[in-house]
């Protein structure tokens, strides 16, 4: 029985990395919690026996045993909180993985255990069912989550100021001539720099209908 050690290690692992679900540590933490529950029960039973033994009309727990009982109770709550937090944080990460499937640069992907894979699948199916039943014109809720385009995706653009003079061949092999006011449908990778500089503007659905 080590007061709160396994719970602390679980949370430190959460902070350190996106490692897989640590079944061993979770089991150790649960075992520790159960040991505290047993110890608490034994101490309360022993204290109750002493209490009955000292018949003075008002049964009271001995003062000397109260700190230990309170400590066991605090350790039980502590382990419970660590276990619940560990699982809650991992669930948040799994849900985030669904909503933001593209990882940031240098970000370690979250490794999932078998039960977590099942949860992610069930979560995806839940969202798909919701989309099909309530928003028939929406294939994927994530498409409306405001994600920026992938490098290989094509985007609709309007030319604000011509970034080059005359026709130009882009890195993807597309040949284009930029005229002010013209609309093009080009790979994002080729035009990102011009968009950032303000020469081209990405169009939304409403602007396309203008």
């Amino acid at each position: 029985m080590d007061f709160g050690r396994y719970g602390r290690e679980l949370l430190l692992e959460l902070k350190r990395s996106n490692a897989a679900y640590n079944d061993t540590l979770v089991s150790s933490c649960l075992q520790d919690l159960n040991l505290h529950v047993c110890a608490l029960g034994d101490q309360v039973a022993a204290a109750s026996r002493d209490q009955h033994a000292s018949t003075d009309g008002k049964p009271k727990l001995s003062m000397s045993v109260r700190p230990s009982i309170l400590l066991q109770e605090a350790a039980i709550h502590r382990n419970k909180r660590c276990l619940l937090t560990y699982h809650w944080v991992r669930l948040q990460r799994i849900q985030k993985q669904y909503w933001s499937p593209r990882q940031e640069e240098n970000e370690e992907p979250q490794q999932l255990g078998p039960a977590e894979e099942d949860f992610l699948q069930a979560y995806q199916q839940l969202h798909q069912r919701y989309a099909q039943n309530t928003l028939p014109f929406v294939d994927d809720l994530r498409a409306h989550a405001g994600l920026p385009p992938l490098n290989t995706e094509r985007v609709l653009l309007r030319v604000v100021t011509a970034p080059t003079e005359g026709p130009v061949v882009l890195a993807s092999g597309v040949s284009v001539e930029f005229r002010v006011g013209a609309t093009h449908f080009l790979p994002w990778n080729d035009v990102e720099e011009w968009v950032r500089k303000g020469h081209l503007r990405v169009l939304t659905g409403e602007e396309h209908n203008e």
């Binding site: 007061f3 902070k15 001995s62 003062m63 109260r66 400590l71 937090t85 920026p148």
Partner: protein, 232 residues
Amino acid sequence: MQTKNYFDVDAILAEEELVPCQSNFDFSYLSHLDPDERPGKRHYLPEGTKFKVPVWAVEKWATLGFVKLSLPRHFGRKARERIEAGEADIRKRNERFFIAGKRLGDLLDNYTAHVEKAWRRSGDSDQRLLELIKRESAQLRRTLLSAYTGQRLSQTLNWALSSVGDDVTEYTKGLTELERRLFLLGATSASSHEAWKVYGNGRLLPVTEHKRTIRSVTPDLQAPGNKRQRIS
């Protein structure tokens, strides 16, 4: 920043801070808490023993007056003076220095409030000790506030909002967890702002299909003072 969330990992880890205390009577079954205790010699912790326990373990004892509390060394008076002078590596003392410090301040305030009430009822009193603890708690809070909101805060915000795309490892490695959270929020906001300038700079236009519907209702459009006419 919310730190009272049940699932806040940093708040939970901050409660691991060891608090020096002294038992006010014999504690049964807790002889192992005495750092000088030889195993098997006793089954209780004697009155007056000095030992250290985490904040989460001592909270209930403190409110019931089972122990006397004091501040950990790196939250004590000399350490606070060094922090206020800007000479201390705060993260090295405790990665969750500000969260743990606030937690300790709350613990001391609870302790003094409950003990004072109990002593008033029983007629006992050690006002000098209580005043000392209240003063320590107030000074600790002042130090935490001045350290967090001083130069460190302005530097953190400056770096967070102006370092989009830069390597900030050198700066962030000296920050406590609370400051890192603040930094991350600022950096995320700055990146989102940059992304908005690129992807979200279009004008909002009225929906064209609605316009076509209005135009098709010709007789009503001719009537004077008609709302549809005004809209078209």
